[in-house]
């Protein structure tokens, strides 16, 4: 086994921040995403969720800390593993969840961190619906808005975008998170659990970049049925 790459904490910025990326079969794009992140963040953790295309090896080559699930468990499970790992690191103060497919902007993550630090927030949620930069298309919008509606009904928090993979969590807030939903419903579950911790939170306008690649992998309309079902059924 290759020895893990230890982050050079002194030279890089944001050494109290851990970027957590659930990784499943994203070998064509994950390298570029990590390279960009590494310019600003010393600690990038990828949770290889049983990829079959060598994504984990690519991520390791590009300097990410890779944790490997022995079997494919789902995005929610990978996110939980990453959060569990990051929150037990000695120098961790902030955890940023980030998607592997390159749909998030580093500038947004930096902006969210700045907001979280200055206002001492527990959580900052990225939202693509606070301005009109992002155009997801109608089908995706239906899925996302359904998810938001369910989330707001169950949590009494008033979010504009529930299924956005870009979030900033303080380590204290992250300690209150224990995701059970292994599949997509975890995005609502994470909001529910944050609501319970009563930490101060805010939304932050972000742009989601829909490349042809991410479009092809994105959620289908039918998947919103799955999300609803997973949330309603105990």
């Amino acid at each position: 086994m290759t020895p893990p790459v230890k982050p050079a904490a002194r030279s890089a910025k944001n050494h109290d921040v851990w970027i957590v990326i659930p990784l499943y079969n994203e070998a064509p794009v994950i390298g570029g995403v990590i390279d960009e992140l590494k310019k600003e963040f010393a600690n990038v953790v990828c949770i290889d969720d049983g990829s079959t295309d060598g994504s984990g090896a690519v991520a390791r080559e590009h300097g990410a800390r890779v944790i490997t699930h022995p079997i494919n468990l789902g995005q929610g499970a990978a996110l939980q593993t990453g959060i569990s790992y990051a929150r037990e690191q000695a120098n961790a103060a902030w955890i940023v969840t980030f998607d592997a497919d390159g749909q998030h902007r580093i500038e947004d993550a930096l902006g969210m961190l700045k907001l979280a630090r200055s206002k001492k927030l527990g959580v900052v949620f990225g939202s693509r619906f606070l301005d009109d930069r992002t155009n997801p298309g109608w089908a995706k919008k239906v899925v996302l808005k359904t998810a938001v509606w369910v989330t707001n009904r169950t949590t009494k928090m008033n979010l504009t975008d529930a299924h956005n993979g870009l979030r900033v969590l303080s380590v204290e807030a992250a300690r209150g998170i224990n995701l059970q939903q292994d599949r997509m419903a975890h995005a609502t579950e994470i909001v529910v659990q944050i609501g319970r911790t009563k930490v101060p939170w805010q939304e932050f306008p972000v742009e989601v970049i829909y490349t042809d690649y991410s479009k092809a992998k994105g959620q289908s309309l039918l998947n919103s049925v799955n999300i609803l079902f997973d949330l309603i059924v105990n």
Partner: protein, 130 residues
């Protein structure tokens, strides 16, 4: 008088749905399941020995034949069984996830510890004079 069987079937189906959405597995559920199994065996034996009885009950409930009543009951039982199976598989999936996560995290901690030791070894010989 088809009303009675209708009420019974609707109640059975609604309870199945409630079970799907609400209940979490517990010891009392297991007890209820076992009682139902014993009852089903007893009812089966009685129905086999006195076939006319089933038809009589069916008539009383407003169902044409005993075989029809049996079919209706079977449909509800199959539904409950599949809900119960689904819930069991979800519980198992969660257990598997927790187990796999611990495995991945243990491996990660081990790798980190090894890297720490390696870094210490590397720095100690040259670091003495500094």
């Amino acid at each position: 008088m088809t009303l009675w069987i209708q009420i019974l079937l609707v109640i059975g189906l609604v309870l199945t749905a409630v079970y799907l959405v609400r209940a979490t597995p517990s010891a009392s559920h297991q007890a209820v399941r076992r009682i139902l199994v014993i009852l089903a065996v007893l009812v089966g034996v009685v129905a086999v020995i006195w076939p006319g009885l089933l038809s009589a009950i069916a008539h009383a409930l407003g169902v044409g034949r005993g075989a029809d009543l049996l079919l209706y009951g079977l449909v509800v039982v199959v539904l409950i069984e599949s809900v119960s199976n689904y819930k069991r598989s979800v519980t198992q999936a969660r257990t598997t996830s927790a187990l796999a996560r611990e495995l991945a995290l243990t491996e990660a901690r081990l790798e980190d510890a090894i890297a720490d030791v390696a870094a210490l070894k590397k720095s100690s010989p040259s670091g003495k004079g500094k």
